[in-house]
């Protein structure tokens, strides 16, 4: 009985010692994983925001100047 309890106690001590040694590495791994997940989420949400933009170009009728203005609008950004 004594031997059993003693070995159990030793086992607990050994596990605690192991845990103490590996804990900082675990925390670092979890933090790195969380950071990577956040960065990926931000990247893909930014991509999604650009792709989601929808513009409705409304013109009263087909007329050359209106169509030219529309064509200019399409080429307007980033210039």
């Amino acid at each position: 009985m004594y031997l059993t309890l003693s070995s159990f106690g030793n086992g607990i001590k050994r596990e605690a010692w192991n845990l103490k040694n590996i804990l900082p590495e675990c925390i670092m791994l979890w933090a790195a994983r969380a950071l990577l997940t956040a960065a990926l989420l931000m990247f893909f949400s930014a991509q999604g925001a650009v792709a989601a933009h929808k513009i409705l170009a409304v013109q009263g009728m087909e007329a050359r100047p209106y169509t030219q203005a529309y064509e200019g609008f399409r080429g307007g950004a980033g210039t």
């Binding site: 650009v50 792709a51 929808k54 409705l56 409304v58 013109q59 209106y66 030219q68 203005a69 950004a77």
Partner: protein
């Protein structure tokens, strides 16, 4: 018609709606169903159709004096169908270097702000403005008669009180009688008897509007982007009228102008 490219790169979707082609569904219902992030209104019909849809950023183009009419609307901005008056004055002064007196007729309710800007720009030049107010189209010929002997050039503004089929005809006749050149805002009037027009370039106005849309979709408040005038001027000259009036236009201006020889 669906399209992509231009504004915010190839992933942006641009849906084009021509109101006269729409059948079966009301335009406002169609626009709501499309759930756009921004509407480009091309022309007054389009703007009148969309202007009351709440919460929708709207950029207009091909609208006369949009900046004045929609300055109090927080969700509307765009490019007016008029070349910056300061730039027009510069072109007129360069085209007719010997002409010191420029005449204008205007309805203060319509063109007061434009005339104020012209007066401000003229104050720094060797040019005097003879600006006369008119309040109804019937008064235009008489008002023109009063100023025509005091001016060297008449500058016809896009003022709906001053410019109509009858008033334009009488102004051109009276100007021709007195040997005064008319500078207009549209090529159409150069074909009818004006000596020169300083008009807009629809493609370039569209580009200006595209840059505004890009800023709005990037998160800038519409209210912080004020309405602008067209920055690019397209000059057209009627060479036959120039010959008739014996007027020599500055060569640099003539070099960048489109020439029209006929008079309708």
């Amino acid at each position: 018609m669906k399209d992509s490219g231009g504004v915010l790169g190839p992933d942006a979707e641009i849906v084009r709606l021509v109101l006269s082609d729409l059948s079966g569904v009301g335009p406002q219902e169609y626009i709501r169903n499309e759930e756009p992030d921004l509407v480009l209104a091309i022309g007054m019909d389009a703007l009148e159709t969309v202007e009351n849809i709440k919460g929708l950023p709207i950029v207009y183009v091909m609208i006369l004096d949009g900046a004045g009419r929609f300055s109090d609307r927080e969700n509307i901005t765009g490019v007016s169908m008029v070349v910056e008056p300061e730039k027009q004055l510069e072109i007129i002064c360069r085209a007719f270097p010997d002409s010191e007196r420029i005449g204008l007729l205007y309805d203060p309710g319509q063109s007061g702000e434009i005339v104020r800007r012209i007066q401000e720009a003229a104050s720094g030049k060797n040019t005097s403005l003879v600006a006369r107010k008119v309040y109804s189209p019937e008064n235009v010929p008489a008002a023109f008669m009063l100023i025509r002997d005091e001016i060297d050039v008449f500058w016809m503004l896009p003022d709906l009180t001053v410019v109509g089929p009858e008033t334009v005809r009488s102004m051109f006749l009276l100007a021709m009688e007195a040997g005064r050149p008319v500078v207009s805002f549209s090529e159409k009037y150069v074909e009818l008897g004006a000596l020169m027009s300083i008009g807009v370039d629809p493609y370039d106005m569209g580009r200006q509007a595209g840059r505004m849309a890009e800023k709005i979709l990037a998160g800038k408040q519409v209210a912080s982007i004020s309405g602008r005038d067209a920055t690019k001027a397209v000059i057209t000259v009627n060479t036959r009228i120039a010959e008739k009036l014996g007027i020599v236009i500055n060569e640099k201006i003539l070099g960048r102008a489109r020439s029209i020889e006929q008079v309708r």
